[in-house]
């Protein structure tokens, strides 16, 4: 037995007898890194249930949702997901971006009701208990605000991917197919649209085409294995895979079946895309194929020359990602990134590309393709088609400049 090993054992015994929380130790115990043995191996760690609902390490305290800019109110407001800190494709529940039009209502589940009426044979009131008795499905899908990265229509000045692209999250959602519930109420032949209405103070309302409702729409009560977070619509929300996030109405209280859309404020004054010619796209639902590099990023970039892995996320509201190309020279040449399985429909796909940095300035871009034949456009072609007045559905290639010192900035500023 070596001298240092005997010392460790001796001080371990002293700790056990004395019940001390820390030990002043000899030279060999001073540091945490090899060859020293760290302090936290010399005493018991924290107890279980501290806290009962677990939290991230205190050293991850900066991994939080943020606001982009202060707004007039903090209830008609949004926060953005720290994409630069995330790995894989799942967004932890506490980091899912928020967008509320009148704050987060506090709803006791036994007080909540979902009313379904209109062009149906049997109008129904469902309780949460009722909903939990239906056959359920679980699916992994992204949720993207249609205003995500809309700052890039005009040069944003934001260097953080959290600020440019953080109105995007991806979760495992559990609930009841809307088609099952529509089967319960029985649709009349002229049923063409469904009004979805929230139980928040804005009674947030959108019109949903019946084709989507009967296709893959879900009435969701759980995310990532637990009941919805309040800010995600607890106790129940609509979820429309691949459609603009605003349509996945939270705190869902009412579905009314009709023969035409309602033209609510959120589908006329908002969530319409004003083009350069003064006309506006209305009822543009699908989120286009899109990708963004999340490493390197403004917080954590290349430091010294050597080996790195460029990584990012790609998605399509119409299907699944088939290919992501990465450029480090501003789009002059491209290399194909590897796609991390699983690659799912209307879901984030993680892409990776090994990269050896020699200390030269770069402009890193990514370009995604989907299985329906859509691809991510350049910023200039998108602006040539629509101008810079739209506030929604920006899906152009994002460039990040990396300077010789490793500092990363938004290439479009």
């Amino acid at each position: 037995m070596s001298v240092s090993r005997r010392r460790i054992l001796a001080s371990g015994a002293a700790l056990a007898i004395g019940g001390m929380s820390s030990v002043k130790s000899g030279e060999a115990l001073a540091g945490a890194v090899p060859p020293d043995v760290p302090e936290w191996m010399r005493e018991q760690g924290g107890p279980i249930l501290s806290p009962a609902y677990g939290l991230p390490s205190k050293f991850e305290k900066d991994v939080v949702r943020r606001i982009r800019e202060p707004r007039a109110t903090d209830t008609e407001a949004f926060s953005v997901t720290p994409l630069q800190n995330l790995h894989g494709i799942i967004t932890p529940n506490g980091l899912v971006f928020e967008r509320h039009h009148a704050g987060v209502p506090e709803i006791a589940p036994d007080q909540h009701r979902l009313l379904i009426h209109g062009l149906v044979d049997r109008p129904l009131v469902l309780t949460m208990d009722d909903l939990l008795r239906f056959p359920a499905v679980t699916r992994i899908h992204f949720l993207e605000c249609s205003g995500n990265s809309s700052t890039e229509w005009r040069k944003s000045g934001y260097h953080s991917v959290q600020r440019t692209h953080g109105l995007m999250s991806c979760c495992e959602w559990t609930g009841v197919p809307l088609s099952t519930i529509l089967g319960e109420v029985g649709l009349k032949p002229d049923a063409k649209w469904i009004l979805a209405e929230g139980a928040d103070a804005a009674a947030m309302t959108r019109s949903v085409p019946i084709e989507k409702a009967l296709d893959d729409a879900l009435i969701v009560y759980a995310q990532n294995g637990e009941m919805l977070r309040p800010e995600q619509g607890y106790p129940v929300r609509l979820f429309l895979p691949g459609f603009e996030g605003n349509m996945s109405v939270k705190w869902l209280r009412r579905l009314k079946i009709g023969d035409r859309p309602w033209h609510s404020r959120e589908e006329t004054a908002r969530y319409t895309n004003l083009l350069a010619n003064g006309k506006a796209y209305q009822f543009a639902f699908e989120m286009d194929v899109k990708s963004v590099v999340t490493f390197p990023n403004a917080d954590r970039s290349f430091k010294a020359p050597g080996s790195y892995e460029i990584s990012g996320i790609a998605w399509s509201g119409r299907g699944h990602v088939t290919r992501v190309d990465v450029s480090v020279d501003g789009g002059a040449t491209w290399r194909r990134a590897s796609l991390q399985e699983p690659v799912l429909d209307k879901c984030l796909t993680r892409f990776r590309l090994p990269f050896s940095w020699q200390g030269q300035p770069l402009e890193i871009q990514s370009r995604a393709y989907d299985d329906k034949g859509w691809m991510q456009p350049t910023r200039s072609s998108l602006i040539a088609a629509r101008g810079t007045n739209p506030r929604y559905h920006f899906n152009a290639i994002q460039g990040w400049k990396v300077a010789a010192d490793g500092v990363l900035t938004n290439a479009s500023t």
């Binding site: 009313l115 309302t205 033209h263 456009p377 629509r386």
Partner: protein, 188 residues
């Protein structure tokens, strides 16, 4: 005999299929009563469907606006507080680099003003205005946008007749609207 068996099998298959389809009904939930539906059925459509009884004048709306709306949206809809929507003006700006999208310049249907004010405004006290008060505020907003005269009175009949300046400003989703959105070769 074999043919008959096949026929029976086919018939049974279809019968079983329809039985399964029948089983899709789970008979969960409680029938919604007309009274329950009436309490929550607040939506209003451009054809006037859903507009409640009641009426309101520009003059009444001016008072309510001053008390309930002006603090955020500005006096007469001009100069709103920072971060709040401007409700008036912007006509002729939609095709310029600095579009001003207001109720008057952008909203396609006057019924939507009723629906939105009724469900979500005033910001600090939603669900507090009567139908008459909502009609009044809508009348006032239409007046300050030069869409109805000062003596206008809005009710269900009048409101659905109002033609908004940008009623024809909306077109269906035009995507793909650039070649750069569709892959032509080497896409997989």
């Amino acid at each position: 005999m074999r043919a008959l068996n096949v026929c029976v099998a086919v018939a049974l298959f279809f019968f079983a299929g329809s039985a399964l389809a029948q089983q899709a009904r789970l008979s969960l939930g409680t029938p919604a009563t007309p009274e329950q539906i009436r309490g929550w059925d607040i939506d209003v459509r451009p054809d006037g469907a859903g507009l409640p009884p009641g009426k309101g004048s520009v003059e009444q709306g001016e008072k309510i606006y001053a008390e309930q709306c002006a603090a955020c949206h500005g006096e007469k809809g001009q100069n709103p507080a920072k971060g709040f929507d401007r409700l008036v003006g912007g006509k002729g700006t939609l095709a310029t680099p600095k579009p001003v999208q207001t109720v008057g310049s952008y909203w396609p249907y006057a019924t939507t003003i009723f629906d939105y004010v009724n469900r979500a405004m005033p910001f600090t006290a939603p669900n507090s205005l009567t139908a008459d008060e909502v009609y009044s505020v809508v009348a006032y907003l239409l007046y300050v946008n030069d869409i109805v005269p000062r003596q206008a009175v809005m009710d269900a009949q009048e409101l659905k007749k109002v033609k908004m300046p940008n009623a024809d400003g909306f077109i269906p989703d035009g995507r793909p609207d650039t070649d750069d959105l569709k892959c032509k070769a080497n896409c997989k």
